[in-house]
Symmetry: C2
Subunit: 164 residues, 2 copies
DNA sequence: AAGCGTAATGTTATAATATAACATCTTTTC
DNA sequence: GAAAAGATGTTATATTATAACATTACGCTT
């Protein structure tokens, strides 16, 4: 049995990233519409910049780009936008890298499983209920009740796997 | 079945923390002896300070204390000691808090499962092979080979669980 | 459309976390 | 005891993130 969803894949050979970004932006627009919240110009642009690659993006890299486009950009500009996007589940923070990645399926802000390739730097995201459940059970065995789960795994993606 | 080891417990009612630190220091001494590496005065003191509570400790808090004891203490003093201790598995870094906790059973630097209580701030550490295995399997299903696993769970420990 | 309240952004400053680079001192080894 | 390796001292700076307050834009009510 495996009912895991892959929320974000490692890019394949013929990956057209522009389409990937495009999808993400469409989804974000729709999500914000539904929720009655505002995807302002700054927030939209920060989201685009986070989606610019499959690698996690640093806040100050976003800021550098933003500065070249908008005189008033400053750290709070970026961190506020990121906070909004994190709250809405449109991006996630990779804690072990202090960097941010886009999320293709907004909503779940309380659990995420990230696979980080040490070679190419790309990140995949899973949503595996079986794993979430096991973690919750293990915790509950010692009387711990979970609010949020974070799983960050480092290693090699299929393309970068060391020749064996 | 549950063969999980609890590497670090939430302190119980009658918890004598001085004994707890003492054990940890003894283990650290022995471990370094065995491995032929040097637990210098600075490293020993930093380890003690990290063990000072069951809550994760910030590098600059360690530094503040160290400064009051040793004129030459500076950020590199602490970060170098922490790096050594991390490499040897004597402490772990909680990535989601940028803070450090002692580890009672040195050795495994490639997997850790941490339970972080949002109320009291204390952290427990598990070593659950079943969970490690499941994560490895999930990853391998998409061709990902794991080098390191990080699980950080936030919620409420038994003592702090909200009255239900 | 004017006015009001809220939300978002602008702006300046600073806090918190971490590392680089090179000098000096200590320990181990031969 | 000299050389090599390891640890610490020292100064400077990089990186990541937030505080605090001013101003502007938006969305709603009348």
């Amino acid at each position: 049995m495996n009912n895991a969803k892959i929320l974000r894949e490692f890019p394949k050979g013929k990956h057209k990233h522009s389409a990937c970004i495009n999808d993400a932006m469409k989804t974000a627009e729709a999500t914000c519409q539904e929720r009655g919240i505002r995807l302002t110009a700054i927030r939209r642009r920060v989201l685009e910049l986070v989606w610019a690659s499959h690698e996690p993006v640093k806040a100050y890299d976003v800021l550098d780009t933003l500065r070249s486009e908008r005189d008033s950009a400053a750290p709070p500009t970026v961190y506020r936008a990121l906070e909004f996007l994190l709250d809405e589940g449109l991006v996630h923070k990779i804690e072990s890298l202090n960097a941010y990645i886009g999320c293709g399926e907004p909503g779940h802000t309380d659990a995420g499983q990230f696979l980080i390739c040490s070679d190419c730097g790309d990140v995949a995201e899973l949503d595996d209920p079986e794993l979430v459940k096991m973690i919750a059970e293990k915790a509950s065995q010692i009387g711990f009740s979970i609010e949020q789960q974070l799983v960050e795994v480092t290693g090699f993606c299929a393309q970068c796997a060391p020749a064996s």
